[in-house]
Every structure is written in structure tokens, then in C-alpha cells.
């Protein structure tokens, strides 16, 4: 009998250890800049990332109380396996099954962004959550009410104390904790990254090399390395949608900004389908076909697409398309979309969602 008890206790210990391991790796490394990335845009000296702050941010990211009826969390529409987008949804799908007008953007490498959302309406990562919380079609809540819900919760005051020294739940702490989680969502383990860092055992194939050359000639002026976007708002010749989304114009009211959207990153494209600001294209082939043969001219079409012969678009042979896709596949980062550090805490772990 005694032996059985000892065995069972050992078993329990092993199980308990395993649970803890699932939550976080043994050591929390904090924010580490990948060697092939530049210095971040976000001022980390204002909001130093700690394990407790990050864990609080992660819990908040997956917290349904951020929405009016406690059903929708950030993680509901920013799903890790889809590189923190809403896989399979052309536009965001929020509270009470209400639909938005835009395709949710991935949450990755946010530390290097300076403006957020398709039209750049938010210029501070710390204020990005306000948009989703207050949007009638996403969370339909108010920030003060979220803070009241967190203050009334049995665990959050102590989690805020761990992260910030005292149990007060203020807007600043709430935003900064969320930012800590988002800042840690770093995607830097794609094959492309490993090749760029000369990691042993990683090299482009001939096809990928050819695709990379083509990419550098024809794509990288907008999809600039290493983030594969240039943070500029451009009209890429999409036919205006039924709702006539004017994009950047909504923020600047400048007619020259009509139909311009922020150039999206190509990283993790395999996980973030569908594509474009309204999710109209389902496959990468269809996206490339748009540039090859489907662009619509307009006053604000980006001049980069205008060819000397008067045509618009990017000419590509089928072989070039094949090479390009081979290269683009090296931008997918499976470790990022499966990294347990960023995963929704499971029931039974130390950060159970109540």
C-alpha cells in the first residue's frame, strides 16, 4: 500500500512538474532582439518586460472579460496557430456574431511597428487594445468597465501586484501588460531568418535563391526586409470593395490617401490566409495573379506599379511565380505559431482562465 502511495505521489510530482513546464520554459529570457532585426521602435525603457508582467499580459490577452458579455478575448480573433489572425475569416468576427469590415492583422513583431491597423489609425501599441475593446463589432465594451471587472476579480489584483508592485489596476498598467505580451510575440525563426543569420544547416535551395532574387527586384521596395513590409500606405490596385473602404483617407481626410492601406508583412503568410485588407483573396497564387494581371487603375494607384509602356502590374512568368512562392515559403515560422510561451493557457495550468 505504502509503495503505491509513494508511486502515486511521484507520479503526481512528475505531472505537476510537467504542467508547470507547459506554462513557461525554465527561464524567461524577456525581450531579446533577433540579430537580423534592427532596434525596436517601441521604447522598452518605459515598459520593461518582466515575467510577471508578460504573464499578466498573456492572461489579459486571453481574457473574455475584455468584451461586453465576457465572451470575446483578444485571442478569439488573433489565434496563434494563424499567426494571431482569424484564420478562415475574411473580416473580423466579433461579439454577438457581428462582422467587421477588415481582415484582422497578425500580432507579430509589434515592437518594430510604429502605426497599427490597416490604415494606421492607432500610433501607439499601448493604445491599440482600446480599438478592439470599444469597437461595436468586436468587443463592444469600455476600458473603464473592463478595469472595474478586473478589480472585482479574485485574482487580478494580486497578478497586477506581482507585475507592478501594488495591486492597483490602472489603465496604464492594463495597457502596458497587454503590450508586454504583444511585444514578446516575435517571429524570427523562419528559414529565411536562419539563412540570414548564417545558422549552420540552413541555406536556400536553387529555386528559393531564384525566387529571392526575383523578390528583391520586384517586391522588396514595398515588402522590405526583414519585416517584409515598409510601413507605408499604398493603393495596390484592388477594385474598391462594396462598402467602398477608403483606407488611410479615413485618418488623414487627404484625398490622395483614398484606397491606401498599410503594406502588410509577408511573414507567416501560410498561416494568415485570407489576404488583403478585406480578406478577398484566399490563396497566395490568387494574390500573385492580382499583381500579374488583375490590378485596377485609379488616381491613387501607387506609381510603383506603373510600367514604362503604360501597363500596370508586375509581369511574371509561371516559372518566376513558382520560384517566388518557393522563396516566400521560407518566410513561414512554424516555431512562432506553436511557441508555448504565447499559447492560450489551458485549463488546469497555473494561469487558468476563470
Amino acid at each position: 500500500m505504502k509503495k503505491i502511495i509513494v508511486f502515486l505521489s511521484l507520479l503526481f510530482l512528475v505531472w505537476a512538474c510537467k504542467k508547470a513546464d507547459e506554462v513557461l520554459p525554465d527561464t524567461f529570457l524577456g525581450f531579446v532582439r533577433p540579430s537580423n532585426f534592427p532596434e525596436p521602435q517601441y521604447d522598452l525603457s518605459r515598459n520593461g518586460i518582466t515575467q510577471a508582467g508578460f504573464e499578466l499580459g498573456k492572461r489579459l490577452f486571453y481574457e473574455g472579460r475584455l468584451s461586453r458579455n465576457n465572451t470575446i478575448s483578444c485571442g478569439s480573433c488573433h489565434i496563434q496557430s494563424a499567426a494571431f489572425t482569424h484564420h478562415g475569416h475574411d473580416v473580423s468576427h466579433g461579439i454577438d456574431d457581428r462582422l467587421g469590415t477588415r481582415n484582422p492583422q497578425p500580432i507579430m513583431n509589434m515592437a518594430w511597428d510604429k502605426e497599427f491597423f490597416w490604415e494606421g489609425g492607432v500610433f501607439d501599441l499601448d493604445l491599440a487594445a482600446v480599438r478592439a475593446i470599444t469597437s461595436e463589432v468586436e468587443m463592444d465594451e469600455t476600458v473603464p468597465n473592463v478595469l472595474l471587472k478586473l478589480r472585482a476579480h479574485p485574482e487580478y489584483p494580486s497578478l497586477f501586484e506581482k507585475a507592478f508592485g501594488t495591486p492597483e489596476i490602472t489603465d496604464e498598467r492594463f495597457f502596458k501588460a497587454l503590450s508586454q505580451f504583444m511585444l514578446m510575440a516575435i517571429s524570427d525563426q523562419s528559414k529565411y531568418d536562419k539563412v540570414m543569420r548564417n545558422e549552420s544547416g540552413f541555406a536556400f535551395s536553387d529555386e528559393e535563391k531564384a525566387g529571392y532574387l526575383f523578390f528583391q527586384n520586384k517586391c522588396s521596395s514595398c515588402h522590405s526586409e526583414p519585416f517584409f513590409k515598409d510601413k507605408i500606405y499604398r493603393n495596390n490596385g484592388l477594385k474598391p470593395s462594396v462598402i467602398n473602404d477608403l483606407g488611410r483617407y479615413e485618418i488623414t481626410l487627404n484625398p490622395l490617401d483614398k484606397y491606401k492601406f498599410k503594406v502588410p508583412s509577408l511573414r507567416n503568410w501560410q498561416y494568415t490566409s485570407p489576404y488583403m485588407h478585406d480578406g478577398r483573396f484566399l490563396t497566395i497564387e490568387r494574390v500573385l495573379e492580382h499583381y500579374r494581371n488583375g490590378m485596377v487603375d485609379s488616381e491613387t494607384l501607387d506609381p510603383i506599379f506603373r510600367n514604362p509602356d503604360g501597363s500596370i502590374g508586375i509581369a511574371m512568368t509561371d516559372a518566376e511565380v513558382a520560384n517566388l512562392i518557393a522563396f516566400l515559403k521560407t518566410l513561414n515560422d512554424k516555431e512562432f505559431v506553436t511557441n508555448p510561451l504565447l499559447s492560450e493557457p489551458t485549463i488546469g495550468s497555473s494561469t487558468t482562465i476563470n
Binding site: 518605459r46 510604429k114 502605426e115 491597423f117 494606421g120 489609425g121 492607432v122 500610433f123 501607439d124 499601448d126 493604445l127 482600446v130 480599438r131 478592439a132 475593446i133 470599444t134 469597437s135 469600455t142 476600458v143 473603464p144 468597465n145 478595469l147 472595474l148 490602472t170 489603465d171 496604464e172 495597457f175 502596458k176 488611410r248 479615413e250 485618418i251 488623414t252 481626410l253 487627404n254 490617401d257
Partner: protein, 286 residues
Amino acid sequence: MSKINFNNIAILLFLTFTLASCKKNDVEIDENKMGDFSVEFQNIMGGETFKLDWEYKNAKNEPFKVSTLNYFISNIKLKNANGETYVVPAEESYFLVKADDLSSRFTNVKVPEGDYTELSFILGVDSLRNTMNVEDRKGVLSFDPDAGHSGGGMYWGWNSGYIFFKYEGTCQLISDDQNGDPTGKKQFKYHIGGFGGYSSPTINNIKEITLNLSNAGNAQVREGFRSNAHLFVDISKVFNGPNVISIVEHPNVMFSEFSQNIANNFPSMFSHDHTENFVKSSEELD
């Protein structure tokens, strides 16, 4: 004789006290001493008192009722007769005036002793503060459930920036279609913001208001007392200012070129009615 004497003493004492208190008013100004100063924003509607849920008519003869009226005041400055200006430190100078909370009509600040002849402030939250980090947005600028602005919904989450003038109500002439209020509630909603843009220039609807106090009473600020510059804020001017607005034609005004027509009506709302000086208790102002 001795009986009268007692009365005389009382009268003498009273006179002495009166003189003494008069003298106090003329005491030399010590700019190292701080006194209390407030601007009182009393909303009015044309020649009428302002009441929520009360029917008024605009210049287009459209009847309307107001359900919400909130606005930000910031960056208070005072100038004396010598042309010297005192700028209230920015972080102490943000106020949210809400029609449903009478106590919010006072903006209480501390300023050095002086006789001030000109008042200026910003209707709105200055552009710089709109771009600051969350830790630099305290009090009414925060999302705090008790003190913040979001209970009033004074912020655009989608287009980072404060809604600095929020004016909502109903007008029974508003249509029930897309050009009016499709919910059938006959609502008008004016959410005015726009601070000039962060990385790209755009409209700036913030208005600096400057008022001469010398005609209706300078602000005499002294330590231990409060001076209160009592303003009338004529809300009828939102529709009936230099730009005459039809509620039926414009039931919703938010972030748009058109919002500038509303913002350009704002300066005409403000007038200085009088100043209460040497106020000892806020009860004197109620």
C-alpha cells in the same frame, strides 16, 4: 451714556472689520503667493438656461433636445495688465465639463497673486498631449473608471485621439433612413475631435479661446481666496454660429471635413459674464 457706549463700540468694531476687509483687497500683490482661480463654464441656450432633455429650436426652426453635452477644457492661461502671462502647468490644466454633472463646470487651478485682465484656454485637448504615452494621460485624460473620460466616451479608439466636444440629442424631424438615424431613434450625434494628425497632417478642430476680462471684471487672485471667472457657454451657437447648421441635413458629424464647420462655430459660444473675486467658500458660487 454708558448704555450708548456699548452700541458705539459694536458699530466701531463692525466698521473697523469692514475697513480691514476692504483693505485686504488692496493689499500688495505678492507673486510668490498662490491663490485659487476657477473658470466657471455655465452652459446656456441662447437667452435661456440650458437643460438636458428640454426642447429648444435652432435658427433653422428645427426642434431638438439635448441628451449629452461634454467638452474638454485645457491649457488655461492668464494675462495681467502689464502683458505678463501665467501658464497653468499643463498636467494640472485638463478638465472635462459635463452637462449632467454640475460640479464639473468649474476648472479649479492655482495661480500666482495678480489682477488678470485676459483669460485664454483651449477647447479640446492640445495636440501634444494627444500624442503622449499612456503614463502621461492622468485624471480626466485617463481611462480611470472614477476620474477618466471614457465614461463620457470621449476617445476614438480607431483613430487615436480625444473626442473633445460631444453633443448628442434628438430631433423629431430626422429621417429613419441612412441619411438620418436608421435605428428610428431620431438621434443626432456630434462627436468633434481632430488634433492635426500624428504622422500625416489632417484637420485640427481644437480652438484656443481668448477672453478679455476687463469689461466684466478682472480676476483678482489672492492667497486664501478664490477668483471665479464666470463664463456663459452659449450652446445654441453650435447650430447658429457663423455657420448655420441644419440638424436634419447633418444628424451625424464625426471625423470629417464637415466637422470643421461645427468647430468654427465654437469660439462664438464663449463670453465672459462676470467675475466673483475674494470668494472664501465654494458655497458662495452655487
